[in-house]
Amino acid sequence: MIKLTVLVKNKLGLHARAAAKLVRLASSFTSNIYLSRVGANQQIDSKSILGILMLAVAQGTPLIVSIDGRDEIEAGKALQKLFEQNFGEEN
């Protein structure tokens, strides 16, 4: 089980297109991957787009990613990269 903190830098926050990329990437790993807001108990399945959009994450929000499973190391690296690179978007 690993935990990492990421920052949503996109102008529109974790909007539909970014959320779709996140779900696709998360679903490519067998590990369970959860998202939560800092200080909140509620954990969101990062393989569920309905869950991620309902989290309504705005720009500048830090999130905690909890990953548990056989490929957790690889998943962590890939997810960190996705957030750092703004989901491949300009802004």
Partner: protein
């Protein structure tokens, strides 16, 4: 046996008359019933889960295909939203909840899907951020696809419901009538809509009592509640007391009896008291209305609005053979009378799914009618071939909608001739007519009339275009005045030109179903009126009480009056004493065509 429920009274606008008692059938956001059906056997549960999974699989394939098409058309950047829909319909938490609903409640998949989706939509509704809150529309769109695939393209599984039903919904699209079981649905109660919406027009055509514009009543009604619906005064009573129903029993039974087949004293030809023959025909949308048309005493179908067989079709476009079969049955049933088939006229609030590609802010002025047909020539030719094939079974007329220029008629004729040659039906004779509904067509009628065999005046659209009033817009709906002096002058001009050109002319619009308006049209010189079949018996009676000379005098005088209100008052005053029927129920309709009243000046 059941505990007494609280009686609740709601007030809306009565847009289609009649009094009925029935069970509420509540439809979801897309005209879909959220009916819970208990599965008969435990062993059907896993079958139901498989049926759901299959619907998701089919939905997924459709979306992938759509996505590929969209990427080709508008580029990958814009097609991503379908990717979001794909992820939504495969969403594993949603999927798990739906399967859990099916198993735990032993319920049908449709209900399980709606139940889970409603919960999620409510959660989204509470989000503060507008962008995320609005993702509800994406969720609805994705789920809607699953529902469509579950029920095979049909809105409601009508087979599974029984009894007299009253549809309860926020809105009800005209296209939804296509998948409608007329034997079961007895009324319509809606939060939105008004008298002149297409839905109201169809409700009246089907003799279906309807109340629209009932504010915020949906949260108080569940499927299965007993409702008392009064389409005359616009009242809807939820859980009416048995005493109340009993007190109205006589009127309810009376309405039910009126909806039954009328006595067939109607077969003789119709004439005014001074001997002028008048031909009343029926406007129809659905093939199954033929029985009602025949009962009404109408002499044929003056306008068959063919778009409804397209809208109701599971694959969008029925094949030539399917269409020919529908037209042939219509024509055979109406023999020896004729059937006028208007070619596809989508637009306004009756768009086909394909039309989603281009969203125009005012589709009334956009690509519809003959304009669309000349662009999609293959579809037009398919329909023409089907109509011509049906013409071997009886009398058929082809009517072109939304004609603006002579060139359009000429191009259509060239296509029709080509179909005749290509299919080896060169000897087939047909009558060609044009809808006169655009002011430009009225003003160029002298030349247009030479190109066709007959003319159909589409008064609903003509009034709308002439007065530049969108009848669906409540802010201007009061300006939709079929008795505006300009409308009367236009109609008088049309009969005048047609008489000189020796062309047949028919009025196909809602207005001819009103006795006062019918007399006015008669006086102007129209001798062929087409209307909803339920109105035919009344108008028949009115005309048989009327002398043409009197009608002419009334029309002449009406044409000199300067406001719609004056004209309405004059018609009520001059027509009423001449007719042996009680015309009171029709007064409101011409005095106040939209239920808004004529605008009053404050000074």
């Amino acid at each position: 046996m059941s505990s007494a429920k609280v009686e609740m009274i709601f007030q809306g606008n009565g847009v289609s008359p009649g009094l009925v008692v029935g069970q509420a059938l509540k439809l979801g956001s897309h005209n879909r019933a959220i009916l819970k059906i208990q599965l008969a056997h435990e062993n059907l549960v896993e079958e139901e889960v498989l049926r759901f999974e299959e619907a998701v699989r089919v939905s997924r394939e459709q979306l992938l295909l759509l996505k590929a098409q969209l990427e080709e058309k508008v580029g990958r950047e814009h097609a991503f939203i379908l990717d979001v829909h794909l992820l939504m319909l495969e969403d594993r938490s949603l999927h798990a909840e739906i399967v859990e609903n099916i198993r735990r409640y032993r319920a049908n998949a449709e209900w399980a899907v709606c139940q889970a989706t409603d919960r999620i939509l409510r959660a989204y509704e509470s989000l503060e951020d507008e962008y995320f809150r609005e993702r509800r529309s994406d969720i609805e769109s994705a789920v809607d696809r699953i529902l469509i695939n579950l029920s095979g393209g049909k809105g409601v599984g009508w087979k599974s419901v029984s009894g007299d039903l009253i549809i309860v919904s926020h809105r009800f699209d005209p296209s939804a009538f296509a998948a409608f079981d007329v034997e079961k649905v007895k009324g319509l109660a809606l939060e939105s809509g008004g008298r002149t919406s297409h839905t109201a027009i169809i409700a009246r055509a089907m003799g279906l009592p309807a109340v629209m514009g009932i504010p915020d009543f949906l949260p108080h009604v569940s499927s299965g509640d007993t409702l008392l619906l009064n389409g005359d005064d616009g009242q809807l009573i939820v859980n009416p007391s048995p005493a109340r129903i009993e007190s109205l029993r006589a009127r309810i039974d009376q309405f039910r009896a009126a909806a039954e087949p009328a006595a067939a004293s109607t077969m003789a030809s119709l004439a005014t008291t001074d001997g002028t023959l008048i031909c009343l025909q029926a406007n129809t949308e659905f093939p199954h209305e033929v029985a009602a048309v025949k009962r009404s005493g109408a002499e044929g179908i003056g306008l068959f609005r063919s778009e409804f067989i397209f809208i109701g079709h599971p694959h969008g476009y029925p094949s030539m053979e399917e269409q020919a079969e529908i037209y042939r049955k219509l024509v055979e049933a109406m023999t020896p009378h004729s059937v006028a088939i208007r070619t596809l006229d989508t637009g306004a609030d009756k768009s086909l799914p394909d039309d989603d590609a281009v969203i125009s802010s005012n589709s009334n002025m956009g690509l519809r009618g003959i304009r669309a047909s000349l662009l999609h020539q293959a579809d037009f030719c398919t329909q023409i071939e089907a109509i011509l094939r049906a013409s071997s079974s009886g009398k058929v007329e082809i009517v072109l909608p939304m004609v603006t220029t002579i060139q359009e008629i000429r191009e259509a004729k060239t296509l029709i001739e080509r179909v005749l040659i290509d299919t080896g039906m060169g000897q087939t004779s047909y009558a060609l007519g044009a809808m006169i509904e655009i002011p430009a067509a009225v003003l160029s009628l002298e030349t247009l009339a030479r190109e066709v065999d007959f003319l159909c005046v589409g008064t609903n659209d003509l009034v709308q275009y002439l007065l530049a009033v969108d009848r669906g817009n409540p802010q201007v709906a009061h300006l939709f005045q079929p008795l505006h002096p300009a409308v009367l002058r236009c109609l008088a001009y049309i009969t005048d030109v047609c008489k000189r050109a020796q062309k047949r002319v028919r009025v196909c619009g809602e207005i001819s179903a009103n006795p006062f308006y019918a007399v006015l049209l008669l006086g102007m010189g129209f001798t062929n009126l087409s209307m909803n079949p339920l109105a035919v018996p009344v108008i028949r009676k009115v005309i048989s009480d009327m002398a043409l000379a009197d009608a002419r005098a009334i029309a002449e005088k009406a044409l000199t009056l300067i406001t719609a209100q004056e004209i309405a008052d004059y018609l009520v005053e001059s027509v009423t004493p001449r007719i042996s029927l009680d015309l009171t129920p029709f007064v409101k309709e011409i005095r106040d065509p939209n239920g808004h009243g004529f605008p009053q000046r404050s000074s």
